[in-house]
Symmetry: C2
Subunit: 170 residues, 2 copies
Amino acid sequence: MLNDLELAAGDVQGDGKMELRLWLRLLSTTKLISQELRRRLRIEFNVTLPQFDVLAQLHREPEGLRLGDLSQRTMVTNGNITGLVERLETDGLLVRERLREDRRVTVARLTDQGRSEFEHMAHAHESWLKELMRDMDPAVLSSLFSHISEIKTAALTRFAATDELDGALD
Amino acid sequence: MLNDLELAAGDVQGDGKMELRLWLRLLSTTKLISQELRRRLRIEFNVTLPQFDVLAQLHREPEGLRLGDLSQRTMVTNGNITGLVERLETDGLLVRERLREDRRVTVARLTDQGRSEFEHMAHAHESWLKELMRDMDPAVLSSLFSHISEIKTAALTRFAATDELDGALD
DNA sequence: TCAAATTACTTTAAACTTAAAATAATTAAG
DNA sequence: CTTAATTATTTTAAGTTTAAAGTAATTTGA
């Protein structure tokens, strides 16, 4: 009887569709935040979010990265990296160089201007996120991080099983 | 002493950059899952993820939705809704109709074929998510949902404050 | 009433995305 | 040694995204 009432009351949390609800909430939340970060990056620094992502990866590799590695780390397809890097080179934020010992390989590396501009962007970007989450309990942030990681690991495992991928967690 | 050790050990959770780390983890996780859902929707049902999203919104409104409302609910810009709906109409999954009483307004409504096909898709989509999260503790899913909602609310509040937007919390 | 503002939608241009095909360089195998 | 695989990147086509400008239709207000 109680059970019937609970189910009738919109499936409060009898785990009817908790996975779906959580997924939709995750998706709408990241979309919302992405949109705002994208907007601010464009207005304040005239870069797109994927461009910022590429710069961030290159910033941690002073020697530069092969386009293939860049593609993996940013989760952007190979084909897309080409144009992304082309535009960033045009803007003077990075340079491309063909490897002598293997002329199939292109390495992208930040210019001094690129490094300097990225550091400004990264500082602002981080402060926007701190501001966004300033009222969240640090313990909650920590628990969120580990639980989201659980889901990410599950995705890598389950989806890798289907796709025959390797299992890099980060 | 313990504290020093903890901080030295890679800033375990001394909240050096927890907000940034959480955000990056959220982003990479949703990207990873989206990619796989997108892949499966394409292979099994020949629809894109945004198209699935539009169908889902229309499915809960048998009378159909104005394109503007559809745009809001899917978080897709007005301009994008036009083409999205055009393609779905071409595929026979929905119909567009101009309102008699206000000829600026277009209402989109699922066809019988659209409703039927969407129901298959939705069933598969939900089961993929259940499979993905099958090892997660239901209490964890529940807590994730509420904490992510906290962040979403913060985003709506903070970003609305900056942008002078209205404050619709969902 | 009727010009101006508002509303609903469409169009446009540049960037990004995916998947798939194409090109070029290197390595492997017979 | 030389053709066949493999690897790294680029190109292509269809679709999506954002932001901004454009087009109708309706409302407002002087």
